[in-house]
Subunit: 181 residues, 2 copies
């Protein structure tokens, strides 16, 4: 199904195909697609996040700062492109009534879990570790705001600057402050 | 024209009316509306921001922290409502090609200028003063992200917490640090 969506979008200048076209190409029953995703937009977003996770896993650089800088730069690079931006606009433009239940966006949930395990890995190493909401509020939200309202991000150090701000607000691990504590 | 848009939206359950309906109600030439705003959505957003500025001017509490907390709480309250949220979704959902030039959203520009003058007032009083981009990135962006992705903000201290974070990142005025400096 995911391959069918990608192929149809590539053939169609990034336009979101209909559920029936996707079902036909994938050789599945359209009813099952409707049941799981409700709209072709929800399915397209799920596919895009899936592709993002495959092409840009959150890097494992040995430090949380390195991991988050790599992740934030990849998010910026991806959303600076037309296709991902169009899908982000669809996602945020959905009326609440038609917005997908979060359970329909399984790839987005797995992306959140991937970030949670990156944070847990850092904590286990004894690094100062922000919470997931802090990462979303301090790093992701300004990237989205900038791209949605002012267009692509051209400032080279933008993502790194946001990650610096995140760490400036994250208290050092207790163990690192009190010697032997 | 603005009254006509508000009246038509109130009569129509918040639906954005057509340019020709607005022109007819306001007794103006539709061509002039097309020329200035291009789409009824752009006009509707301009009207909404105009109303926001009239109903919720940025408060003048005597301290920048008080001003920004009042502003952030008003933004949250407004976007927790269905009508403003629907317009925000329209604004962020617009494709770049059809997105209004910023010069078409005159009320949004005036709102930015209003915030600039609030910041200038605080600076003149000798207070620690963040930049406008910092206010947008640290306070406004998380409010938008939360409301667009996770729904209305129910946490009572949310806006104040973001303003605290903004000031935690804003260096104290040099004059306030060096006595007599």
């Amino acid at each position: 199904v995911f391959d069918a969506v990608e192929d149809l979008m590539a053939e169609n200048a990034g336009e979101v195909p209909s559920i029936s076209d996707i079902a036909e190409r994938a050789g599945v029953n359209p009813t099952s697609l409707y049941r799981r995703w409700r709209t072709p937009e929800t399915l397209a977003i799920d596919v895009a996040v899936e592709r993002l996770m495959r092409d840009f896993p959150i890097p494992d650089t040995g430090t949380l700062r390195g991991d988050l800088e790599g992740w934030a730069m990849n998010v910026t690079r991806s959303l600076n492109g037309k296709k991902s931006l169009a899908l982000l606009r669809i996602l945020v433009g959905m009326q609440t009534s038609e917005a997908p239940g979060r359970e329909r966006l399984s790839a987005l949930i797995r992306r959140g879990e991937e970030m949670q395990s990156v944070l847990a890995r850092a904590q286990a190493r004894g690094e100062a570790t922000p919470t997931l909401p802090d990462v979303l509020e301090i790093v992701l939200a300004p990237i989205y705001l900038h791209i949605l309202f002012f267009g692509p991000i051209r400032e080279p150090g933008y993502a790194a600057r946001l990650v610096d701000r995140l760490f400036a607000l994250t208290p050092a691990k207790r163990g690192a402050v009190k010697k032997g504590g």
